[in-house]
């Protein structure tokens, strides 16, 4: 029942999968790391260069990643990729809330690790060549920004809005970066690990147009 050591943290094996060979030869030094684990190919790209990497991945005829399936983020919460430390965040947060419910937004945070806190993850596929690729970009907590890929794949529009809504990562150059699930007055980003699962907040007062008008009675 013991957790095995992660097999992905070891430096990439010398033999690359055929797809990663092509990707690395096209992207060159834009690829920081590459892994193949459990049949999934994955590359790491610096966040400043994601846009140029995205253009090459879409336009190169041998890659032709035309279908952006998913954009999301991972909150590593100060942990490096290999998850060596076991966090008891939920237990701790719940204990705080039970003791001091009025201070439920001030939760105990574990010490920060050396790696950037967030990773933005893109899943791509090609309708013609039928291969899949995952791209990861690390994004630090104090400057949670990354260029938007909406210009390359319009599908990123809503997916990036969702990531902004739930993780608070700003996509530079996004045409319409609003919250998508929650309402504009909501405080915080609920999929961050320091947002308690039971962190309910009272419905914030609506401040948009027509806010002062009397509500119609039910």
């Amino acid at each position: 029942m013991s957790a095995e050591k992660p097999d992905e943290k070891v430096p990439a094996a010398p033999e690359l999968s055929p797809l990663l060979e092509k990707v690395v030869s096209r992207l060159g030094d834009r690829v920081l790391e590459h892994h193949t684990a459990r049949g999934d190919d994955r590359i790491h790209v610096a966040r400043e260069r994601i846009l140029e990497a995205a253009r090459i991945l879409r336009d190169d005829p041998e890659l032709s990643f035309d279908l952006l399936l998913d954009v999301t983020a991972i909150d590593y919460f100060g942990q490096p990729d290999n998850f060596e430390a076991k966090l008891q965040v939920w237990d701790r947060n719940r204990a705080v809330m039970r003791r001091l419910p009025q201070r439920r937004h001030e939760l105990v945070l574990p010490p920060r690790g050396p790696e950037p806190r967030f990773a933005v993850v893109y899943h791509l596929t090609s309708t013609r060549l039928a291969h899949r690729l995952r791209i990861k970009c690390r994004v630090p907590e104090d400057d949670p920004k990354i260029p938007s890929v909406t210009a390359v794949w319009p599908a990123a529009n809503w997916l990036e809005r969702e990531t902004w809504d739930l993780y608070g990562i700003v996509f530079d150059g996004h045409p319409d970066l609003r919250r998508i699930y929650l309402y504009e007055e909501f405080v915080g980003h609920p999929l961050r690990k320091d947002y308690a699962k039971h962190g309910e907040q009272p419905i914030q007062e609506y401040v948009g147009p027509g806010a002062k008008e009397p509500r119609r009675p039910h």
């Binding site: 999301t72 998850f83 997916l159 998508i180």
Partner: protein, 412 residues
């Protein structure tokens, strides 16, 4: 039967018409369509600006059914999250169960036995049939054709009877387990299923006859909601919508999982990329699903249905009550959950509306660090604004109906 000349009437306002509107100084009318509108089968708010009957600007707002699926998954053990996936696309729950469990199995590195894969395939295709029936019936009802809905709901009841016989529940199935399924298929299932499949097909054909040649239905569906094949791909649309645009992308064919690689079935492809083709693609997929089920029933192998892996499958009750090791095993599995190695996987299945992917990040504990669901409805909804802007107000309803947005999945 199809008219190759039909064109998309959704053209932007320009030229003389724009100049005339400029002169008249008529401000567009703002219409709030939803969040709970009788002509939409889903909770979504569409804000429309209308010039007469024409939509000149639109904004789609989702999230009315957001209930924190991903946050909830991060706090449960892997096996505890399976019932949540029922509630994603509640009209085809077994597909969601399968997608989640296969992603977790990929994380563990488990291959379930052959019989399990066949039964899962049957469950998946039954779900797909039920979903398509509901989608077509509800969309027709929104276009004021009420009778086909009654036929299709009756057919869906027969499908749900079969789901019931497989797992004891009709809608919230909770059927698939990590490394197996909740119960073996009943022995008399083939005899139980065949007449019901035939009867469901008969009802489906009746609804097909009522709709496909119906001039009112065709006028509302043909040429509306057009989006070119390149746009569909660029906007991340998958499933029947993408196939109606002429792109045969189907995860069952492109990356075969379960036993789809061994079965003989076709992927229907449309050519006009409008609502009517989406409807026709769904019609044909229903028939192909029935074909898949009949093949699975014929080829059903014998053997166990659960993977023999103590990390995920609980020992039988008889052994738990009589033997020490199995008792400890069960206790650890229930209280700590099975622990996969740390790492991350993405696994996709072809759900009724498109590619349903689960991206799971494990930190080596019994709970997922992150469990992301790539919902087809969400990506399929994102170009809705583009599809309806420039068209008529009445076209919003069939376009939205053929996207088949399921709130539970889109808003998670």
């Amino acid at each position: 039967m199809l008219d190759p000349e039909r064109k998309n009437p959704a053209v932007p306002i320009e030229g003389n018409q724009a100049a005339a509107l400029e002169e008249l100084h008529t401000p567009p009318m703002r219409l709030q369509f939803g969040p709970s509108h009788p002509a939409t089968h889903g909770t979504v708010k569409i804000t429309l600006d209308l010039e007469g009957e024409q939509v000149v600007w639109s904004d789609v707002e989702v999230g009315y059914l957001h209930r924190g699926f991903e946050k909830e998954c991060e706090t449960g053990y892997y096996y505890q999250n399976i019932p949540y996936t029922d509630r994603l696309n509640y009209s085809s729950p077994i597909l969601n169960n399968t997608g989640y469990c296969m992603a977790v199995e990929k994380l563990f590195g488990i291959a379930p036995p052959e019989r399990c894969n066949y039964i899962r395939t049957i469950g998946c295709e039954l779900s797909r049939m039920a979903d398509h029936m509901l989608c077509i019936g509800a969309s027709a009802m929104e276009l004021a054709a009420f009778t086909p809905m009654l036929y299709l709901i009756e057919g869906r009841e027969l499908i749900l009877d079969m789901v019931d016989s497989l797992c004891g529940a009709r809608v919230t199935t909770n059927f698939v387990r990590i490394g197996g399924i909740s119960a073996n298929m009943p022995e008399n299932f083939p005899e139980f299923a065949r007449p019901r499949l035939d009867r469901a097909l008969k009802l489906f054909e009746d609804a097909d006859k009522l709709l496909t040649e119906n001039p009112v239905f065709r006028q509302r569906m043909e040429g509306t909601g057009y989006l070119s094949r390149d746009d569909l791909i660029a906007w991340g649309v998958t499933g029947p919508m993408l196939r109606a645009g002429g792109e045969p992308y189907d995860v069952r064919k492109v990356h075969p999982y379960l036993v789809y690689g061994e079965l003989d079935f076709d992927v229907p492809v449309g050519e006009h990329s409008d609502n009517f083709d989406r409807y026709l693609v769904r019609l044909e997929e229903f028939r192909q699903s029935r074909r898949i089920i009949l093949q699975c029933l014929e080829r059903m192998p014998d053997g166990p249905v659960d993977a023999d892996d103590p990390r995920v499958r609980w020992p039988g009750k008889g052994r738990v009550f009589n033997r020490m090791e199995e008792l400890i095993d069960q206790f650890k599995l229930v209280t700590e959950g099975g622990m996969p190695p740390a790492g991350e996987v993405y696994h996709a299945v072809e759900a009724a509306n498109g590619e349903l992917g689960f991206y799971i990040v494990s930190d080596g504990t019994g709970k997922p660090w992150k469990c992301r669901c790539r919902a087809p409805s969400f990506s399929n909804m994102s170009p809705l604004s583009k599809m309806i802007t420039g068209g008529q107000l009445a076209d919003v309803v069939p376009t939205f109906g053929m996207i088949n947005m399921i709130g539970g999945e889109c808003d998670r």
